[in-house]
């Protein structure tokens, strides 16, 4: 089952064609103004794109070429907008019951109470939205969105206005609700960590275009383009040159000749953008230097070191590349054991399989 989206619009600009897996939590991530909310609004039918095609498992919701456009109220969706959109004059129970007008009155109230209990807001049924905390409002909005058993749940920055501890509890609740009900969840967020934590599939968006999408781990570890790497906030973006072919193929990076993995991306000789995750830069132990024949050893000087909780982030100046900084991320105990400090000479390995080539175009 899949959820296919093809959207074209002028203001806000949208130009995307993507097929997402149904039944999973998909994180739509991008900077402010990248069109994330507009994508959700098009799916909900609240924004009519100039051209578009939206279909869930073959069921067409929108096809501008054939004049199909199911009104919002007929689309099997649940929507939690950024500010929740709760009906201010109705109690929590009344808000949820509003989603169940197709049921008889008695059943409506029963189901609404059950949904509120499921969202951990039982006992607050009679409270008006203004009498609820941010986290409680979010839960009521979630209960309302899930009340009709939607096939697609659209969440627009749902955790942005709650405090950190509430947010963590809500993460667990979202995961639990998803496990129970298994809707397709499209979670819009600008917080990459949040998306990485919750989503099984990531969709990176910039200026209304999908820069990259795929399983979360793959997108996070193997950005496909320079734009994707920038969106993922990768510090290690470098330019190199592919030299030679076959076994003799190397990536020239200053005076270094790095072994690269097999694959078409490294197949052509010439300049190439590439990246490596800071966690995949391996620091050689001071007391047991690696010979590193197949590990792309690079000698470097530590430019600076920053400790962030249990992690240490060091910027290294690789030998022969005075203007380049290679970022390395290790745990605190590894940094302490190797006495990682500014000015020290170290050796690191750029693991062959961790070197990721980057295309220059967006998609």
């Amino acid at each position: 089952m899949s959820f296919s989206l093809r959207l074209g619009h002028d203001a806000p600009p949208l130009d995307l064609d993507v097929t997402l897996p149904a039944g999973e939590i998909v994180g739509i991530v991008g900077p402010s103004g990248s069109g994330k909310t507009s994508i959700l609004r098009c799916i909900a039918g609240l924004l009519r794109p100039v051209s578009g095609h939206v279909a869930l498992a073959g069921e067409v919701w929108l096809d501008s070429a054939r004049g199909i456009d199911r009104p919002t109220r007929e689309r099997p969706i649940g929507y939690v907008p950024q500010r929740y959109g709760l009906f201010p004059h109705l109690s929590a129970l009344g808000n949820v019951a509003c989603s169940l007008t197709h049921l008889p009155q008695e059943e409506r109230e029963q189901r609404a109470r059950a949904r509120l209990a499921q969202a951990h807001v039982a006992g607050l049924d009679d409270r008006l939205p203004r009498e609820l905390s941010g986290g409680q409002q979010q839960r009521v909005a979630m209960a309302r969105a899930l009340a009709r058993n939607p096939r697609v749940l659209l969440l627009d920055e749902p955790f942005s206005s709650v405090d950190r501890s509430t947010r963590k509890r809500l993460y667990v609740e979202l995961k639990r609700l998803h496990e129970e009900l298994k809707p397709t969840v499209l979670l819009v967020t600008h917080d990459l960590d949040e998306a990485a934590l919750l989503a099984t599939h990531l969709c990176l968006v910039q200026r209304g275009r999908v820069v990259q999408h795929g399983p979360t781990h793959e997108v996070l570890t193997r950005p496909s383009t320079i734009a994707a790497a920038r969106l993922l906030d990768q510090p290690n973006l470098f330019e190199g040159t592919v030299e030679g072919t076959g076994e003799a193929r190397r990536l020239a990076w200053g005076p270094h000749r790095l072994e690269v993995p097999d694959g078409a991306a490294f197949g052509l000789e010439g300049p190439l953008a590439w990246t490596i995750l800071p966690t995949r830069v391996v620091l050689h132990r001071v007391d047991r230097p690696s010979r590193g024949e197949h590990e792309n050893p690079v000698a470097a000087r530590v430019a600076d070191v920053v400790t962030l909780g249990d992690d240490v982030i060091a910027r290294l100046q690789p030998g022969g590349l005075p203007d380049t900084r290679l970022t390395l991320k290790v745990s605190l105990h590894v940094a302490q054991r190797n006495a990682l400090a500014a000015g020290r000479e170290v050796t690191v390995s750029l693991l062959r399989e961790a070197i990721v080539p980057l295309r220059r175009e967006q998609s």
Partner: protein, 223 residues
Amino acid sequence: MDWTALRLSLALAAVTLLVLMPFGVLAGRWLATTRSRARPWLEALTALPLVLPPTVLGYYLLVALGGQSPLGTAFERVFGAPLAFTFTGLVVASVIVNVPFAVQPLQRAFAAIPPDVREAAQCCGLSRWQSFARIELPLAWPGVLSAAVLTFAHTLGEFGVVLMVGGSIPGETKTAAIAIYDRVQALDSAGAGAMALLLLAVSFVTVALSYVLSERWLRPGRK
């Protein structure tokens, strides 16, 4: 005390309210939500009775409703009675004069409903009518109340237009405001004072009632 005039005023205010409110709700909602380029022009048109002197408005209404006008002639042919200088004519004039008093508070009330609330209603699967009846109208209720009170109170006190279109026919077009004017012209200060005091009391009670109702509406704990 001219009880007939007071009864006529109250009847005129009530009928005006009944006729105008449905129109005011629809027009106010439309003006609050439309993206039509005609909106500023239509807003200006609905606001016109606020800025025109009552005598000017009354003159045009008299011309429009009079026996020589197409509207007046057609009305007389269909219903067998004229519009000018009748209670029906007064109602027509009163409805037109009160358009801004009804439409503007309603437009403001509907415009104040956050767009995400309106959209949430659609996402909940509510039909247009359900969304209007369950969400929008209750949220615009303070505006409905303001519009009703303003229309009612303004009709009670309307003088210029009523005089122009209806004259001062006892039991037919002589409202309380006209009766006060007549009493003053007749140098009957006591009569004018009693009528004025009664009109003041009725207006005060109407406005006070609207405040009490809005207070109750906004009190928390409602389902």
